[in-house]
Symmetry: D2
Subunit: 382 residues, 4 copies
Amino acid sequence: MFRFLTAGESHGQCLTAIVEGLPAGLKIDVDLINKDLARRQQGYGRGGRMSIETDRVEILSGVRFGQTLGDPITLKVKNKDWDNWQERMSVTGDSVGPVFTAARPGHADLTGIKKYERTDIRDILERASARETATRVAVGALAKNLLNACGINVISHVTNIGGVTIDKTKLDYSSLSEIKSELNCYDPVAEMKMKERIDNAKELGDTLGGSFEVVVSGVMEGLGSHIQWDRRLDARLAAVMMSIQAIKGVEIGEGFEYANLLGSKAHDEIFIDGENKYYRKTNHAGGIEGGMSNGEVIVVRAVMKPIPTLMKPLASVDIATKKAVLANTERSDVCAVSAASVVGEAMVAIVLAEAILEKFGGDSIGDLLAAIKYYTTRINNG
Amino acid sequence: MFRFLTAGESHGQCLTAIVEGLPAGLKIDVDLINKDLARRQQGYGRGGRMSIETDRVEILSGVRFGQTLGDPITLKVKNKDWDNWQERMSVTGDSVGPVFTAARPGHADLTGIKKYERTDIRDILERASARETATRVAVGALAKNLLNACGINVISHVTNIGGVTIDKTKLDYSSLSEIKSELNCYDPVAEMKMKERIDNAKELGDTLGGSFEVVVSGVMEGLGSHIQWDRRLDARLAAVMMSIQAIKGVEIGEGFEYANLLGSKAHDEIFIDGENKYYRKTNHAGGIEGGMSNGEVIVVRAVMKPIPTLMKPLASVDIATKKAVLANTERSDVCAVSAASVVGEAMVAIVLAEAILEKFGGDSIGDLLAAIKYYTTRINNG
Amino acid sequence: MFRFLTAGESHGQCLTAIVEGLPAGLKIDVDLINKDLARRQQGYGRGGRMSIETDRVEILSGVRFGQTLGDPITLKVKNKDWDNWQERMSVTGDSVGPVFTAARPGHADLTGIKKYERTDIRDILERASARETATRVAVGALAKNLLNACGINVISHVTNIGGVTIDKTKLDYSSLSEIKSELNCYDPVAEMKMKERIDNAKELGDTLGGSFEVVVSGVMEGLGSHIQWDRRLDARLAAVMMSIQAIKGVEIGEGFEYANLLGSKAHDEIFIDGENKYYRKTNHAGGIEGGMSNGEVIVVRAVMKPIPTLMKPLASVDIATKKAVLANTERSDVCAVSAASVVGEAMVAIVLAEAILEKFGGDSIGDLLAAIKYYTTRINNG
Amino acid sequence: MFRFLTAGESHGQCLTAIVEGLPAGLKIDVDLINKDLARRQQGYGRGGRMSIETDRVEILSGVRFGQTLGDPITLKVKNKDWDNWQERMSVTGDSVGPVFTAARPGHADLTGIKKYERTDIRDILERASARETATRVAVGALAKNLLNACGINVISHVTNIGGVTIDKTKLDYSSLSEIKSELNCYDPVAEMKMKERIDNAKELGDTLGGSFEVVVSGVMEGLGSHIQWDRRLDARLAAVMMSIQAIKGVEIGEGFEYANLLGSKAHDEIFIDGENKYYRKTNHAGGIEGGMSNGEVIVVRAVMKPIPTLMKPLASVDIATKKAVLANTERSDVCAVSAASVVGEAMVAIVLAEAILEKFGGDSIGDLLAAIKYYTTRINNG
C-alpha cells in the first residue's frame, strides 16, 4: 500500500511529506529528486519568486546508505524566504502583520475563509498555493525511482500555451525523451511562438494557461482493473491530474476528439506477428482500455487555466470592509504550464507506483522485480 | 463515511450493490431509482438488448417503511435474460457452452484475460460491460434522494454526438431542468441532426461517441478542500467521471478551452450587492475554485468514445488459435451517449453526497440538515 | 486490495455481502461455506430460533463454473422466517405492527435510537443483532478457500464457559484440527462441565459468556509490518475480533498473563538446527513479533460477554413512556460462545487473506502462489 | 477525515508525523504536547537513554498564531543523540560502522530482515523500536486538544506490574484525574511494591511487563456504530491499543472476567430518574455497548509483555554466521509500563477524535461544537 501526505504552507518554515509503501532496497537517487524540483521552478514566464527558491530536498527518515528500508520516508523542502516570514507565519504568539482581506477571483480565497471560518485570507492561500506541488514533485521523484527500476519512463511535454499549439504530426511518442527547453516543448517552432505570446501577455499585465501531456513508456499490461470503478487506472489518473492546482480538464488518448470520430476510426485494431506477439498499429486509446494499461504508451493530457493573479488586477471584494476592491497581486508569473507539466509527471508516477505495488506486492525490490518478471513472462508466453 | 461496492456480471443472475453511510430517516423514493434506471436504458441509437431489460431495483436491506435506517442498503437489479444464460454463466458445475476467444479492440478483453489468467474472454467481458452502470445509477439515485433533501439538483444533457454540437448560446444553466428527449439534448435542432448522424452511422455498420454535461445547482459553498490533493472536489469528480466505461476525458467549466484564453477573460470576478452578498457575473470555473464548490452551478463535461463493438467488425486476433479474426459483435448499439449522461449524473451525485456527509456528518437526516443550516446561515452572515 | 461490506437485517428478507479482491481462478467450495454457516448455528445452549434457520449461501456474482473471476462476489443468505416478518420489516409502505420500546441493557438499543433518531428500537436491533455474523462467516469461508490454497489452516476451540476452563496442559497447537463437539471444545471433561453450567444457567433464566481461541497453522513469516501502526498484524487481528458482537477482549499468545511474568520466562529464544534452520522451543508470543507473523502458530484469544437477553429479564426503561420496565426477551440462547468461535475463525481468516494479498499481490491464483513460493524459498535459504 | 502518518528511525535525525483533519480555529497548546512527551519518557524502571532525550515537539506546518488552519500539521521530534549516530544512520553514502547480526527474541529482528531482505538488523530495529511512540504521543496530544475543547478527558493509570496489582476497590473512575507518580499508579501501596519488584528484576538482569487502563470521561453517547464491523468503536480501540509495541492484549470493561460471570451480574441495568434522564448504576460494559459509546466512562485495559531486551541476554542466533549467540543488549529498561500507558492515552485520544470528526463533521471548531451541541441537546430531550 503506497500512500503519502504532504504538508506545509507557502511561506511557512518548510514543506514536508511522508511517503509510505516503497519496498526496501530501492536505490534512491537524491539528485533525481532535486532535478525535478528544479525543473518545476523553471520555465519561461515564471516571475521573480522562483529565483530565490532553488528547492532542495532533505530526506529525514526512511533511507539509509542510499537505499530505502521499507520505512516511511520523510521529505522536507525548506522555504528559502522563511527568514522574512517567520513573524507573519509564526506557529505561536499573537497575530502580527497585515491581514489579507481582498479575495482573489480564481483562487480558494473567498470560499476558503468561509468554510474554515477565518478572517485572514492568508490562512487559506498559504496552503492553497501551488507551492505545495514542490512536495508532490519530490514524492513523484521517489515514485520515479521505483518506476525506473521497473523499466518505466515518465516524461511530459507542453502542447498548447495561450492558443499556440504544437505540430503533432512530427510527434513520435515511442521515442520521446526528456526535453531540455525553456517551456518543456518538443516543437521549437511552436515554442518560439509560445514565448512571444507570453511576452505579449506580460506586456498587457495578463496571464496565460495551456495544456500538456504526460507520456509513459515501458509500462506493463494490466495495471488497474475493470472490476470496480475506483480500481480503474484511468479514474485514478484523472483524479491526480485534476487535483493539481489550476488544472481544469484531463483526457486520455484521443480524449475529447473521440466525440467527433466514427467508431471505425477510433479504436486500435489488434494484430499478431510472426512470433505470435500481439500488436497494434495505432494508439487512439492512449494506452488504456477497460480501465487497464494495455501495454501501449500511456498518454494523459491536462489543461491549466491562466494564472488568476494578474498584474492588471481583477475586480473583487474586501471581506472585512465589504467594499469593492481590486484583487491583490502576490505573485507575478505570467504562465506556469511547463511547471505544471512536471507536477503532472509526478502525479502520474505516483499512480503507477501505487498500481504496481498493489498488483505485484513485495516488501523488497527483489521480491517486486521477481513478481513482475514472473508475470510478464507468463503473459508474453500466453 | 459514504461507501459502496457494486457487483454482478452482465449476463449473470443479477447486479447488486451495497451502499453504506446514508443517514437514518431519509425518505427513499423507489420510483426515482427506477426512473433513472429507465432513463439509462433509453436513447436513440440503442440496440435490441435494451428492449428486454426494463430494469427495476429491489431493495433487500437498509430501508424500512420507506425510510433509511442508517444500515447498509442492498440493491439488486435482475438480469431479465438470465433464463437463457444460466447454464453458460452457472456459478457451479463444469464449463459449458462456447468459449469466447476473439478479442475485441477497445474493450478489456485482451488485457483482461492476460491479467486474470483466463482462457474464455467471457470471464472478463461480463464484468467489464457497461451493464454494470445500472448499479451505479441505482446507487446514484439513492444519493440523489439525499441531495434533493438538501436542495441540490443534478441533471445532465448531451452536448455533442459524432461531431454535431449543441448551440450553447441559448443555454441557461441556472434554469436547466431534466430534459425529456430521446437523446437527453436540450437543443431540438441539434438533436435532430444528431439522430441523422446516428442513422448514417448505423447504415455504415459504424458507431458514434459524444460528450455530455452534468450540471448541479443548489450546491452549498465549501464542499471539497484545498488542503490535500485527494480532498479536492474536482479531483473526485474527475475520478468518477473517468471511471465510467468508455469515458476518455473530463473537464470542468471552460475546461480545455482555458488553454486558449487570456487570464483577464478566464476568471470570475467577485462583486457585492446591496445586501452585502457576494456574487459573480460569470461562471468560467464551472462552480469549483481551489478544489472546493464555490456556490455557483457546477458544470462537469465528459467525452465518450464511440462504442467499440461495430456491426462492421474491426480486425483482431483469436487468443486460442492465434489467428487473425474479425472481432465479435455481441451488442448492436450505435450510440450510448445519452445513457452515459445518466450514469454521469449518478456518479456526480455520489461524489456530492460523500462530500456533504464528510463535511456535515450526522447519523440522522435531522442532524445533517441542522448542520447544513447552521453552516449556511453562518457563511451568509459572514 | 481485499475488501467487503455486509448488509441485512436480522428479520429482513436476507443478509448479503459483497467481497472484492480475491484473485481469479480460485476454486470456491460452496460446501465449505455452508459447513461454516451450519457450525455457526450449532452449539449447546443455543435457543429455538437456530432450528428454523439452517443457513445456506447463494452466490449471485463473481464465481463461474466453480472458480472466481476476479470480480466482486455477492453472497446472499436468506432469512428463513421472512414470510412471518415481511409486513413488519417491509421496505415500503406505512409502519405496521408493534413498536419495540423497551430498551435492553447490554445491547445497542438505547444508544442506537438516540444516535439514529429513531422511535422504534427494532430499527436498531435488527442490524445490531449477531445474526449479521452469518455474512461474516460466509465471507470468512471465502477467505479460507484462499488460505487453504496457500497451505494455511484456521481453526478455533472454546477455552472457557462461565468459568469452566479447559485443561491446557494437554493442548498441542501444532496438531490441533477441527473439533467435532457440541461446544467446539477439545477437552471432553471440561466440555461436560461446561454443559452442566449451561444447564444450570438455563434453569436460573440466566446466561453465560466465555472465551475461545483461534489458531492458525501454516502461515508464512512476515505478514503485517512494524513500519506503521495500522499495518501491524496484531492490530488488525485485535480489531476484527473485538468487532464481533459481544466480544469484550482480545489477547495474543500469553496475553494478559504477560503482566505476571519475568522477561526471562516470557520470550521465545531462537535456535538453529543442523540444516541452518531457525527454530523456537516455545511460542509465548502466539506467532506474532514486531507486528508480523513470525512463522509459529498464531494464537488469538477472545472473550464473549454473557448474552444480554435473559429469560429472567433485567431492569430497563421504556423509551416511549419513560417508565421503568423489564427488558424484552426476543431470543432465548443461554450461551453462544461456540458460535462466536466460528465467527472468530472467519474474521481471522479475513485478516490473513487481506495481509497475504497485500504482501504478494497477484490477480490470479497462479500469480499469487508463484509469489509466495518465490518468497518462502528466498527466506528459507537466507 | 482524521488521518496521520508517522515516520522516523530510533537513531535517525528525527521523528516526524503529518496529521490531517483537525478543524480550523482549534487552539493548540504546545506545552500539553511537550508534557505528554515528557510523561512518556519518565517512569521508575527506565534506563539510561531516557535521560538524554527530553523530547520537545516542533510544529513545522498547519498552526499559525497558536491556532490550527485546517491544514495538515507537521510534527517533528529531534533525536538528541543524532550527533553520535549520523554516520551510522546516514541517508547517503556507503555503509559504515558495525553491522548488527544477533537477532533478539521478542523483537521484529529475525522476521524483519527476512521480509525486507536486509542483512543488517539495524535496518529493522530502528523503526520497530518503541521510540516511534514519541510521535504517537505527539499526535495524541493534538487529538487531546480537540477532545478537551469538547469536554472530554483521557487519562491512564497502571494496574499491574510484574504481578503486583492495584487495589481496585478504592478506584472511582468518575473522579480519576491525571496521576503524578513515578509509575502512573493511583494506589501508593501497590506502587511501592511495584517498585520493589522492579528493583528485584533489575538485580536479576531481568525485565517486567504489566497492564494499564485508559479511562475516558465526558464522552458523548453514540460514537462508533453497530452497522458495520469496522465502524465499531471497540474494534477501533482494540486496534490502536494492540498496535502499540509490546502490547499483547486489550479488553474493555470487565474484559476477560466476563467469561466467569452470569448474565444477570454482567450487564448494566437502565434506570430513569425524576428528570426523565436515563442512568446506570454499574459500568461493566466499560462505556461501550453495540459498538458505540453509551455515555458512561470508557475503560480500556491493555497488557504489555516484559521488555525483551534483558541484561541477562536470551539465547539467539547470528544471522550472518548462523551460529548460536546471546542476544544483543541495546537498551537497559527494566519496565516501561508507565510509558506505555501514556502511549495508550494518545492512541485512544486519536480514535475518539476521529470518531467525533466523522460523526459531527465541521471544518471549523465553531461548526464542530455547534453540531455537538445540537446533537447532545436533541438526545437529552429525546
